[in-house]
Amino acid sequence: MATKRINLFLYLALACFLSIVIIFIADGYLGTYDTVYITAGEREEKVEPDFWLREDRTWSSGVDWGEKVKFKYEVDNRWFRTYSAEVAVSVWHSQEKVQDLVAQDIQVAPFDKERLEWVVDTEELMPAEITPEQAYNYTLIIKRGEVERKVVLYVNPSYPPKVPLPVR
């Protein structure tokens, strides 16, 4: 009887351990996760899925004037059913839409990944009245069904090279 009672604690400890493993798998692994890759110049930034888990988080990235920024959006479907959603990407400034970049339906097979790519040309998006010496901001909004991701692009000003003064 005493041995049975002692072994009961061992079984309870094992049950707690298995429960922890199940929680990590069900809550921490299973689901749909997205990763954003931003390539500006020679550097690539990777926005991990856990960054978006906190509410109202916005990623910020700086780019040079006239630079082309390459985006890669990866949807990782860690579930037993095919994941379908419409992905829409648009550029905004001061709460107004500037341009639609992507509007595409995706279907991700179970435990598979789907990747979308697009390029943002900062020079193309600039209003005519903005000169290269001025900084400018854009917000890139990625909508995947009900999920929304925001990336703020800070376009750094480009200063012309200083002309050396003539020697007298």
Partner: protein, 58 residues
Amino acid sequence: MKLEFILFGFGILFCLGGIGYLAAEYVKYLSEVGRLVSLLLVVAMFAFLGRYFEGLGW
């Protein structure tokens, strides 16, 4: 030392190693409720293990 105690030790170490790996990799993806429940289960697991070894006379 009995072989079974050595095996128990290895088993416990591997379990802790497995939990440590899961914690490092996936805890950032857990919801707040999931983290709280996991923490409580970890405490309970060590408590039950302590009672088990206490019953063995350690």
